[in-house]
Structures are given as C-alpha cells and as structure tokens.
C-alpha cells in the first residue's frame, strides 16, 4: 500500500503482503486540482483535458464522489441529512479508494495521465472544517498516493461564494455546511463554511506541496500558467513504449508517487 506513514506500521504489517508495492513509481502522471467551491478549478481542468486530448495523449478525468460503488449511498445519506462527520469522511475516503483501485491506478500503471478533480487535500480541508482531527484524516488517507502535480486555485471565499450563488438557485445542505449549525440562513452558513475551508487550504499548501494559481485572473491566463506546470510534470513522464504495465523499478529518479509523511 503506498504512502502508509511509517509509524502506523506494526511488526505484523511487515508480514502481510501489501496491496500495492511500497513507494511504487508509476509510469503515468497524476495531476490534481484543489480549491473551494467556485474557485474555477473544474473549468481549468476541463480546458487542460481538451488540450491533452488534442495532443493525442492518453488522458482520463476522475471526479470527487463519483465511484459507482459508494455514490448512491452518499447521495441518500445527504438527502436524509443523517451523516456524522466521521462517517461522512470515511465514505469520501471509500469513494477515492474505489476510484483509485479500479480507475486510477490501472491507468497510472499503464502510463496514462489521470486528471483528478479534487484529491486528498479536499478531504483534509473540508473534514477538518467539520471538526475531524487532522492527524486522523492524514492516517485515513495514507492509502492515497501523492499527485505528481497538485494545483490549488486560490480565490477569496467571498468571490467564490458570489460565483456559486450567481449560477445556482439553491445551496445544498452539506455544501453550505448547514450540518454545522453555523447559521440558520443557508447563504450565511455557506460563506462562513467556505471561509473555514479556505483557511485550511491555505495552511495545507506548503505541507501538501500545492502549486498555487491565482483564481481571480482571466481564465486563459490561469490556463496558461496551469499548462506551464503540466508541461514540466509531463516532461518527466516516460514515453509510452514499454509493454510492462507494472510500477517502475526504483531508479533513484524523481519519485512518481510520493508518501504523505514528510
């Protein structure tokens, strides 16, 4: 299993065959976008996808909370407003684990590019804003490899809130953080919650090695900055020639999948 922090490993762990090879180096590239709702990250990722597709590269986009195994349960729970923060957190982790095991890792092993709309930092920021212990969250997501490139689209929370409210009639219960009892008024609750999440993102930028792009700039300018970062990440990706789809052997080169512990 990649990325398990050393201190969680018991002697018994060493005797168990890991599901994924430790410090596996995948030939593909994992690129993630992060940011609060309304930061424009999904738009930027879609433009990136078009660009990579046009270049004829094998590329795949995966979105948060889209696992067919977990999605229906999460949707129902949200509708019934019955989710406790820890359970909520575990279900999001299950969503990522399922996409990782069936959708993402096979492509990375085969040398493809995977674009992820949100990765673990989303859980770190949102769930911590819901009161989950940050240390517990880090251990929970120890199964997730660190992206080769993670870009944080930074916008002031009030701007993001205005963008969302302009384009959407009604705020959803959990999206607005209504479960936290911040305010009986959805719009106000949403503003307070997004500010909290944004604060967490800011403190995550350095430890999670997030590259920051100013989400207030023109879309095309942001996209140019994004493509510049992606070009550098892809330069280190091996050409698609080898037939071996397994994780690369250790070569001492730039680590492809890092670990969550520093």
């Amino acid at each position: 299993m990649p990325g398990l922090v050393a201190k969680t490993q018991s002697p018994a762990a060493a005797a168990t065959a890991p599901v994924y090879p430790a410090s596996a180096r995948y030939r593909g590239r994992l690129i993630a976008v992060e940011g609060i709702d309304g930061s424009g990250k999904s738009t930027q990722l879609r433009l990136l996808l078009r660009w990579l597709q046009a270049a004829g590269l094998p590329v795949h986009l995966t979105a948060w909370n889209s696992s067919p195994v977990v999605h229906e349960a999460t949707r129902r729970a949200k509708r019934e407003r019955s989710l406790q923060p820890l359970t909520f957190s575990l279900m999001h982790a299950a969503d990522l684990a399922d996409r990782l095991e069936r959708e993402i890792l096979p492509r990375l092993r085969a040398g493809h590019i995977v674009l992820a709309d949100r990765w673990a930092a989303t859980a770190f920021a949102r769930d911590a804003a819901r009161g989950c212990d940050p240390e517990w969250l880090r251990r929970l997501y120890a199964f997730a490899p660190r992206p080769h490139l993670a870009v944080y689209f930074r916008v002031p929370p009030d701007v993001a809130v205005a963008r969302i409210q302009g384009g959407r009639a009604e705020l959803r219960y959990y999206e607005a953080g209504m479960d936290l009892g911040l305010s009986p008024e959805p719009a106000e609750s949403f503003r307070i919650f997004q500010r909290r999440v944004a604060e967490h993102y800011e403190s995550l930028a350095a430890p999670e090695r997030l590259r920051t792009i100013d989400g207030l700039g023109p879309v095309a300018v942001q996209q140019e900055a994004f493509r510049h970062l992606v070009r550098r990440t892809l330069r280190r990706r091996e050409p698609l020639t080898a037939t071996d789809a397994g994780p690369e052997a250790s070569t001492g080169a730039e680590p492809a999948t890092g670990e969550w512990d520093e």
Partner: protein
Amino acid sequence: MSDAGLSTSPPRLQPGLFVVLEGGDGTGRSTQMRLLLPWLEENGWAATRVGLGRSTLLRRAFRSYRRTPEAGPQTLALLYAADLRAQVEGSVRSDLASGFVVIADRWIGAARARCQVRGVDPGWLEAILPEAPLPDITFYLDADPRQRLAREIGKRGMPDFRESGRDLGLDADPLRAFVRYQALLDRQYARIAAGADAHWIRLDAGAPPEQVQHEIRQGLLHLLRAPDREAARDE
C-alpha cells in the same frame, strides 16, 4: 484518535451489554442469533441486533460492492469502517446507554479478518475502525472449514464469490477455494484471539447448535447477573 487495541480493556461498565458473535461463514451464527434473541427477551432483557454490513446507510454500497468483482480491499475496509461507525453513532451507543443488550452478528473481528486476508495494512485498519464501544463479550464460533462448506451449501447453494476467496485467486474450483479461504480467515481470527483478553470466548461450532446455544447463554447469564452490572443499571 487512539487505536482500538485488543489487549487494552478500559472500564466496560455501562448499563447495557455489548455481545458479539464472530466466526467464519457456515459456523451457524444466524442460528445462534435466532435462538438467542427470544430467550433474552423472555428473561426480561431487551435486545437489539446489529452486525457488520447491516447499517442502512451502507447497505446499497455493500450490494454494489458484492456485484463488482474488481472492487478492491481498501475500499472494503473503508466501507466497513463507515458501516460500523454509522451503527455505533446511530444506535449502539444509545442502546447501551439505555441498558439494552446489543448483539452483533459479526463486528470488528470479521472486518479485520476479511481485510487482512486481502493484504490491507493492519495499522491503517486499526486507525480507521471505530475504537469504541468494546464488546463486553465475544463468542467466537470455530469449526472445521470442510464442515462449514456442507452447511453453507445447504443454506445458499454455491458459495459467494468473495466468501470463497475467489477474488484472491485461491483455487479455480469454488468449493476447494471456499475451504482454503475460510482456513485463511481462521488464521486471522487466531491472531485476533491471541491478542484478546478473557472476554473472547472460543466455542466449538462443530457441536450441536443447542449445545453451542447453552454455552452462550451460560456466558451471558454470568455477565448479566454480575453484581457490579446490576449496580450500574440501578444508577
């Protein structure tokens, strides 16, 4: 958040009683559950039932997981963790506080065994599984896997894909795979038992069901009639 270590036993006194039945497939757990619940109520102890994979929240997710042979072990571990926590928060904690006898048809032990057999890191597993409440008593039903195969086939015909460990590629033949997989589970249970305390009771599930039931009832009577529990209930 601390590990739910098996060897540590924090004070267990709560008005209710948390009883767990563990054991591989075909050990007769459901028969024992069926016999136990009415007996408890006849004797005046209100009983509720929970179990691994039984939360309403995750029911659909497990169904979907079962139908997806490529779905992996870390997903399973996280679904179990969410499922157990949903039941703890939804009913177990409050039922125990109200003085109910809560009976679990498999709990953390089965989640551990099934995930560790599939290579999930034990340290990570402990970090995500709920650390409380600890069972007041666990009855582990132990029987020879070949005997269990006969029972399982009588009950539902062909063994389930994952309950015969076919996702692990143990054997192309489902029946042989079942026996091999169940033996692997037993080995995981043996490791759990080795780290467990006196609250873990191994029962020979190869014995007639009435006898197994008798032993479970004796164990429960001992706990239910303990003076300190009576005192806790009266508070």
